[in-house]
């Protein structure tokens, strides 16, 4: 048993243990933690982070990063709201998602074809997308969206919140894509060793571009959900969300330089962040202090992973 524990990695044993621990402790501190209202609240609150973290998982697994997803939320929100007022709810939703995908395509072409480092290309997009959102909206919120659009962010389907169902569906699609498709395998391959991937005949430029389109599309879906939750187009949404999504990926056990990680792990990271913030709120810990805790968790999780990796690598001695 001890040996098993020693061999198992942080993300296999440690992370679920932390999650269970958090739930038990918060449940003990405040009985409301377990209430149906609170559980559905948490699942609503984390929906946007969950969606952009899925896209971020693709980017990081492939050996890149997508810093633009936070700003894309704002861009998508503005585009979605404006189009909704013009052509109706469905048109707005589609336009919003496509705006995310299009921005992702720009990222992808810059990274894969022009060979701008992902960090720089998406940093540029982070700044520029925010600028586009502010320009399109004149810096003002876009109000007066149709009431029926509320259902996306605030509605229920049976006992389940609609955003939670969207997230669940997105996770399933992403999980299957990463673990059961060629594209998914190539994402891991590029992140593990890009040069070897090229020499194995993988069209790296094509699949890399696709990675950022995927990330952009998930940011698009997230932006639409967020727009519904605030029932307006907001050019200031999503600040620093890109950093939270990166945190979710690495807390779950994703390797920041690619090749290791997965959708399940990211889900765990998102849950830890969401439950932590909710539980601390219920325990009336100030949001200032919450930031300190979350910061420590990000570094701590990666530290444990790195330390474990070193230990396991030590066991594979070469001459």
């Amino acid at each position: 048993m001890m040996r098993m524990l020693r061999k198992a990695s942080w993300s296999q044993i440690g992370m679920p243990a932390v999650l269970v621990g958090l739930v038990v402790v918060f449940g003990a501190i405040n009985p409301n933690f377990w209430s149906a209202t609170n559980v559905t609240n948490v699942s609503r609150q984390i929906s946007v982070l969950a969606l952009i973290s899925i896209g971020q998982t693709f980017a990081i697994l492939s050996g890149g990063i997508d810093l633009s997803v936070g700003s894309l939320l704002a861009l998508v929100s503005v585009v979605c709201a404006q189009q909704m007022l013009e052509v109706g709810v469905a048109g707005g939703v589609v336009a919003g998602v496509l705006a995310g995908g299009l921005a992702g395509l720009v990222n992808g072409v810059l990274i894969a074809k022009a060979r701008v480092p992902a960090f720089i290309a998406t940093l540029g997009m982070l700044v520029a997308a925010r600028g586009v959102a502010l320009t399109l909206s004149g810096g003002l919120p876009i109000a007066g969206l149709p009431r029926e659009f509320l259902v996306v962010g605030a509605g229920n389907w049976g006992p389940f919140p609609v955003p939670t169902i969207i997230v669940a569906a997105a996770f399933v699609v992403a999980y299957v894509t990463l673990s059961r498709t060629r594209f998914g395998r190539y994402v891991y391959a590029m992140g593990s060793n890009e040069e070897a991937a090229v020499l194995s005949g993988i069209n790296v430029a094509k699949y890399k571009t696709l990675v950022y389109v995927v990330s952009g599309l998930f940011a698009g879906i997230a932006g639409v959900v967020l727009t519904s939750r605030v029932i307006s187009g907001q050019p200031t949404l999503g600040e620093v969300q890109e950093l939270h999504s990166i945190a979710a990926v690495v807390i779950g056990g994703g390797r920041i330089s690619g090749g290791v990680g997965g959708i399940g792990k990211t889900l765990m990271g998102v849950l830890v962040l969401g439950i932590l913030s909710n539980g601390l709120n219920l325990a009336q810990v100030s949001s200032y202090v919450q930031n300190i805790v979350i910061g420590a968790i990000i570094v701590g999780a990666v530290y444990i992973d790195v330390a474990g990796e070193r230990r396991r690598r030590g066991s594979t001695v070469t001459s």
Partner: protein, 515 residues
């Protein structure tokens, strides 16, 4: 050779080290005297590196005794080792590439100005560095930036650094791996000089030819245990091989003769600006075309160009008599061409993918429909290839980095077998793998030939080229320098052709300069 009478400077006694699931060192002992070079010889995975990591304080041993001048010492971390006068020069140098040579030598111990503590005395720094470098008879100026130096010069900087630390024991881990033969000779001279100064050298190698040139004694390790310690001058090479491998390697080159069939690959006047010029050759089914040449003769570039990894400016490629356009590795793979690259870690293995995923990576279309993978079928097929190549791994889901060099090489070969490749470009297929695995790789080539494959084998090991090739192409500065039939080829002829009258150094690993 000197007579060894005095007390050993360093003794390692009964060193034991376990990692989870591996008994890395099992009761290993050796000693080294002042002014002696002691070679630690063994195949990859024998425990050489672990042993020196114990000595350098990277891995504290589980049990055992390290003695300096007969006194038991504790080497708990690399700093302890430094204080004790033990310096290790790893294959990957510990130098700051963007700083000057002098800064690197005295990094962290810069001489300070006498009246202004905290301010580095640049003049003293440069002077002291120069003195050290001159004493090693190098041409390196202390002001030079490390990244502008060649590998051999960087190694000299490391040695100078060790001397500046008053090292009494210098450990060198495969120091010749990246050197040309001229540079190797220089290194050996430096080692002699260090010995004259009374420095003890611990020299790690799996190259037998070097043992003679360097060592006074050799300790042979196998599977983490000492096989024995021998006086190098009195031990024949065959005996050393037997001790390393644990069996007689009767046939180091299991060359089989297959009647060559039709032409499989023909390249005509391949040209890439400033790299390749008018490279033409062909290879038939059932035939191995060896490509020899010095380091820098652009053999790797030739293979990469054929494989579509680098763009060509001119030339034609014919596969089975048909002209083909190859603009990417994917094009090459479609034409049943495979490249087993020289630098396995950088270009071959995907370290974080599993063995299964590594094997099937280039052939996923066989296991997918509409982009979806049939993992069960993938696993079955990967298992077939892993078994037939005898890839040694506990299971296929292990990440590839946990495999030994020889097994990683087999994984890369399996990746191509599964694509049904028929033309194999092997670039230094035996580099960094041990004697046993080397024979297996050669046997595998034989099997490929029997199945009608054509093989192009680039190698810097002349014995390999001579032992395995049906024809030999010699490259020189991006061109074809000559071609030899198997029967007429000799080391001398190939070397003369490779040198082409120029005074370039012979490649390090050719083995032609020693033995």
């Amino acid at each position: 050779m000197q007579v060894i009478t005095e007390r050993p400077l360093l003794e390692m006694k009964g060193i034991d080290k376990r990692f989870p699931g591996v008994h890395a060192l099992n009761d290993v002992s050796f000693d080294v005297h002042p002014g002696e070079a002691h070679v630690l010889l063994g195949e990859n995975g024998a425990g050489k590196s672990t042993l020196i990591k114990v000595l350098s304080g990277t891995f504290p041993p589980d049990s055992g005794d390290i003695r300096l001048d007969g006194q038991s010492v504790r080497v708990g971390n690399p700093h302890d080792a430094q204080v004790l006068g033990i310096s290790t020069i790893y294959q990957e140098f510990n130098l700051a590439p963007d700083m000057s040579v002098a800064d690197n030598i005295f990094l962290g111990r810069e001489p300070m100005r006498r009246h202004a503590p905290g301010i580095v005395d640049r003049k003293a720094l440069i002077d002291q560095a120069r003195k050290l470098l001159d004493s090693l008879d190098t041409q390196i100026a202390p002001e030079m930036i490390v990244s502008q130096l060649g590998v051999a010069q960087q190694q000299m900087v490391e040695i100078a650094k060790a001397l500046s630390l008053d090292a009494r024991i210098i450990v060198m881990d495969e120091p010749t791996a990246a050197l040309t033969s001229h540079e190797i000779d220089r290194l050996f001279e430096t080692i002699q000089e260090l010995k004259r100064r009374g420095v003890a050298i611990v020299y790690i190698s799996h190259r037998l030819e070097e043992v003679r040139a360097v060592g006074d004694r050799a300790t042979i390790l196998r599977d983490g245990a000492c096989v024995g310690t021998v006086l190098v001058a009195e031990t024949p090479l065959d005996e050393l091989v037997r001790m390393m491998v644990g069996r007689d390697l009767k046939d180091k080159f299991p060359k089989i003769h297959v009647e060559p069939g039709e032409e499989a690959l023909r390249v005509e006047r391949l040209t890439r600006k400033d790299v390749l010029r008018d490279v033409s050759f062909h290879v038939r089914r059932g035939e191995i075309l060896g490509i020899a040449g010095l380091v820098g003769s652009k053999r790797t570039e030739t293979a990469r160009a054929i494989f579509g990894a680098d763009k060509l400016d001119g030339g034609r490629i014919h596969v089975h008599g048909r002209r083909v356009k190859i603009n990417s590795p994917a094009d090459a793979i479609r034409n049943r061409i495979a490249l087993v690259p020289e630098d396995r870690k950088r270009h071959g293995i995907l370290a974080y993918l599993s063995v299964r995923e590594n094997i099937t990576l280039s052939a996923l279309s066989q296991f997918s429909r509409g982009g979806f993978l049939d993992i069960q079928r993938e696993r079955t097929r990967a298992q077939e290839y892993a078994s037939s190549l005898r890839i040694s791994t506990p299971d296929l889901e292990r990440r590839a980095f946990s495999l030994s060099g020889g097994n990683q090489q087999k994984v890369v070969i399996a990746r191509w077998l599964i694509t049904n490749a028929e033309i194999f470009l092997f670039d230094e297929p035996t580099r960094g793998i041990d004697v046993g695995a080397k024979v297996e790789v050669f046997q595998l080539m034989g099997q490929l030939l029997k199945r009608g494959a054509a093989i192009v084998m680039i190698s810097s090991e002349l014995p390999d080229i001579l032992g395995m090739s049906d024809r030999i192409l010699v490259m020189r500065e991006g061109r074809v320098g000559g071609e030899f039939e198997r029967q007429e080829a000799t080391e001398e002829k190939i070397l003369t052709c490779a040198l082409g009258g120029a005074t370039y150094a012979v490649d390090a690993s050719s083995g032609a300069h020693v033995s």
